[in-house]
Symmetry: C2
């Protein structure tokens, strides 16, 4: 039988978070953290509403997942995030020792890959899952919300 809990399944949940950010006028990035096929943390970008540069989707998901687990390390967990994490989020993921990072669209300018943020050696990375959908949502945001308002 096919496993319904594949990367696309959970990235869709991250995209729903990104849409929630979009609807609040925030740059649309969303994230969920999963263990044993269960979402234990979620978040969407709230930097404008909270006036807080630290309120990225990933940061909130990390805090929520650690709270659920009762410990700060995210071993055996997978982060699904619609956009490649930035240095700050990459640095937080380093400390968390998370097992897997799955992102959607690349962020060439501010993403952790080109900026060479160090991740934990235990962490594996996979990119490009539903990248077109994530990038399309970002483009729509910058056209509708930033240029026309």
């Amino acid at each position: 039988m096919e496993n319904p809990f594949d990367d696309t399944y959970f990235m869709k949940k991250a995209l729903m978070e990104a849409e929630a950010a979009f609807n609040k006028g925030e740059i649309p990035v969303g994230a969920v953290i999963v263990i044993d096929n269960k979402v234990i943390g979620r978040g969407h970008n709230l930097t404008e509403l909270l006036n807080d540069v630290t309120a990225h989707a990933e940061m909130q998901a990390i805090t929520a997942a650690a709270n659920f687990l009762g410990g700060k390390y995210l071993h055996n967990c997978t982060l699904y995030v619609t956009l490649e994490p930035c240095q700050m989020c990459g640095g937080a993921l380093y400390w968390s020792q998370i097992s897997n990072i799955v992102y959607g669209a690349r962020d060439q300018e501010r993403g952790f890959i080109n900026l060479q943020t160090k991740l934990h050696p235990k962490t594996s990375i996979k990119g490009g899952v539903m990248a077109d959908e994530a990038a399309a949502l970002m483009r729509r945001f910058f056209i509708e919300r930033r240029n026309l308002n």
Copy 2:
């Protein structure tokens, strides 16, 4: 007349925060954020108590200062932090566009300098302010709390 509000004055306040962390069994790092000689944000490391890798001193101080200012950018602000910031905190400081970072002791292994975290071009950096005091507190922590308990 001598200006009492020099770097040492504010780094002492950051060290008081670090001592508060020490007394809670946390790795003793403290931070304050200052504008116009006024402390508008403070924080000390709470990663163990909160089970949250994002709870570094600097992150809490950034959130508090932005909350005070009612905006996410920390222009004309100075961060005083007892230990060189990590990648995560460096990444948050990048987003904040903070004007000045003053740190105490170097962190060769996990600090943002050797890990080459990108800061905002508007940000200036000064290190080594009360570095001996900050480093001594760290050493005392690792001797008393981590080896002997």
